[in-house]
Symmetry: D2
Subunit: 106 residues, 4 copies
Amino acid sequence: MTTVHHHAPREPAPPGYTSHKPDHLDRLHKIEGRTRGVTRMVADDRYRIDVLTQISAVTHALQQVALGLLDDHIRHCITTATRADPVHAEEKLDELTLALHRMLRL
Amino acid sequence: MTTVHHHAPREPAPPGYTSHKPDHLDRLHKIEGRTRGVTRMVADDRYRIDVLTQISAVTHALQQVALGLLDDHIRHCITTATRADPVHAEEKLDELTLALHRMLRL
Amino acid sequence: MTTVHHHAPREPAPPGYTSHKPDHLDRLHKIEGRTRGVTRMVADDRYRIDVLTQISAVTHALQQVALGLLDDHIRHCITTATRADPVHAEEKLDELTLALHRMLRL
Amino acid sequence: MTTVHHHAPREPAPPGYTSHKPDHLDRLHKIEGRTRGVTRMVADDRYRIDVLTQISAVTHALQQVALGLLDDHIRHCITTATRADPVHAEEKLDELTLALHRMLRL
């Protein structure tokens, strides 16, 4: 949106992050707009069923971004760790399972 | 419809809406802020697992607002229709089931 | 499965339960079969992605039964309580919100 | 962990499958029992809110087994493919993302 500097969090460059980043940011900007729309609907006493429909759509869109990020993470971070450092890979896998646990609401 | 008076922040005000409205708006404003936070995290190439944690929290908060609105809707709109007009009540119930269908991702 | 009698879906009887009961039971018997199928797949070391696909299908089918029961419950139990006894209706509505809370994993 | 042969689904046993397999099977047997319990509750016209509580519990238990299988899959199948064969690994990752897509109901 504004001047965004990405400092490359790991040596060669943010692995794979950049490839889908514009798409993720685009989706997130739309989600921000839709979230403001939900607030406005409640403020305007709009019919609750219509508000619920919007919330379902926003939640779905957020989960899609989450799946995209998860896919990037597995493809790059997990894959790199697996090739480079088995011990580090184990930690990454534990962390990934915890993230999936949260995403699946378990 | 029935004798439900709730001070109405917008002149007539749908029944029951107003009682929890400040709470819903407060939650939604926080959700807007957290959604912008997620966008910023992606823009800044923050660690994806941390972004996923934030998205899980935002999704959860949105679903909580949805449940609150659903509860208001059943308590006021469905209840009123049930007492006043059986045919209208049937339509409201069909609509409610569809909303639940969407919320449960079925 | 057993000797299930469904009386008239209107006046006496457990209200509304009976109307969709054969459908719910039919779905549940299929879900039982599919659940045994999942166990068998794991026992046979079947490819995990295929097991996950089956589990997703079973979970989806279970949620559909849950939505059907919820719909019956709102249409009959909630509606009856609302017409007959406002205090009892409040309790029913609190209970319903709790059930929705669990179903939405909040 | 390293040299992985996934031919015979019986004797040598796919990597990592065996380690958690008794636990998965134990959970699945319990889930089968609870699913039959749900059917019985519906057959016996038990209070629908109580049936819904049981369905929520069964769904949760199924998702936990799914997460366990997913964790096994990523740790063994994905990791092995990543180390051994980059092209095959890409296919495995596409397949994994699709499975996550289904699990998250997207």
